[in-house]
């Protein structure tokens, strides 16, 4: 927690000092994050536009209902909640690392950076599993009167309008079977595109955090007299968590 006592009547724009009371690097990190927010925002709004423009969109509770080692158990939202909590928790360890940096406590920074890196890798592992599960999945799709088994890719979307039970019984299938018609192919493109772009941010965040960990370990920040680099890496890492909050909302919850 930081509290700053700034004298009343301070002339911020009269020259001689930065009106933002922050270092150049930190202000530029904020501007970068703002531009990145517009990039992600544009992706998500484009996704929303396409989703609003079709009559049926994939039901997230049907698409994302798997959990590692749980076989074909129907567990909607479960795995992605785990991923969300991993990312929130790694955000907490990151802010604790920044906190230790303010106190110039090298050991503390090292400990929390390691925990943050582990959190990031755990998230990436979860995403790798989820992508593999979706691409190699075999969901039944009714294509031209024939049942095919499709995975979700950027060219195939097996999550269109569900086939009614009467049709299934006519075809000699069990009425409780989950069979869909092909859906708009935009689904795979948006899902893999946006979660992939986010996952790439997580990957680069992990790499940045590893570099910061090594620099902490080598004592570079002690020599410099401050741990502001940890703060800037922290801003990026929290931004990754922030974006996930919106990806989670747009793809999995609504």
């Amino acid at each position: 927690m930081s509290t700053t006592t700034i004298p009343a009547g301070t002339k911020w724009w009269a020259g001689g000092k930065s009106p933002f009371n922050a270092s150049y690097g930190k202000v530029m990190m904020w501007y970068f994050l703002m531009s990145d927010a517009f990039t992600f925002g544009a992706f998500l709004i484009s996704y929303g536009t396409i989703r609003f423009s079709v009559n049926h969109w994939a039901d997230p509770n049907q698409v994302f209902n798997a959990f590692p080692f749980a076989g074909h158990a129907n567990l909607p939202l479960a795995f992605v909640s785990l991923m969300t909590f991993i990312l929130i928790f790694s955000s907490v360890t990151m802010v604790l690392a920044v906190h230790e940096g303010h106190k110039m406590n090298r050991k503390g920074v090292e400990k929390y950076m390691i925990l943050t890196i582990i959190g990031g890798i755990a998230f990436l592992a979860c995403q790798a599993w989820e992508w593999t599960h979706m691409i190699t999945g075999d969901h039944k799709v009714l294509v031209d009167g024939v049942i095919e088994e499709w995975g979700t890719t950027v060219t195939k979307n097996p999550w269109g309008v569900p086939v009614p039970p009467e049709t299934l019984t006519q075809m000699g299938l069990s009425a409780t079977e989950h069979v869909n018609t092909p859906g708009p192919i935009a689904f795979g493109g948006y899902f893999f595109g946006i979660t992939g772009f986010h996952g790439f941010h997580v990957l680069s965040g992990v790499v940045i955090n590893i570099i910061m960990y090594i620099k902490t370990k080598l004592g570079h920040f002690d020599q410099r007299g401050h741990y502001e680099m940890i703060e800037k890496a922290g801003l990026y890492w929290h931004f990754v968590d922030l974006v996930w909050v919106f990806v989670f909302l747009c793809f999995y919850l609504v």
Partner: protein, 142 residues
Amino acid sequence: MSANTTSPEVTFQPEHTGGTKRIWKIFWVLSALTIVELGLGYFLYGMGNSIGYMTIISTKIVIGLLTLAKAYYIVSVFMHLGDEVRNLIMTIVVPLILFVWFIIAFLADGESWKKLRNTNAGSTPDVTEKVAPAAVNPGDKK
């Protein structure tokens, strides 16, 4: 911390006092908000088609507002933007207001696009409108 002489641009050094209490409090707030979101998500899943269109839409809007609350806490506390001077806060937050217009304009555009496609650009009646729960006529299949 007197050791914290970060750069010449910082005129007023922030005092980094206090413990980690606030951080953990925000962690619990974020977790609680996520759990409420999940609860509403499961509510939508469990209810399926037995609830009306307006209930579904309002639940989704509530989930969206909870997400905005989470975003506020992450930016304000974890990213310490709330502790910065007003000038820095405004230079970041004010441009983001453009999103309000983006969302309204583009989602409305998607909605209009759907209508044009379903009606052959307005030349035929909208067949899908009968699917809407409010307007099911007896004899209409689906």
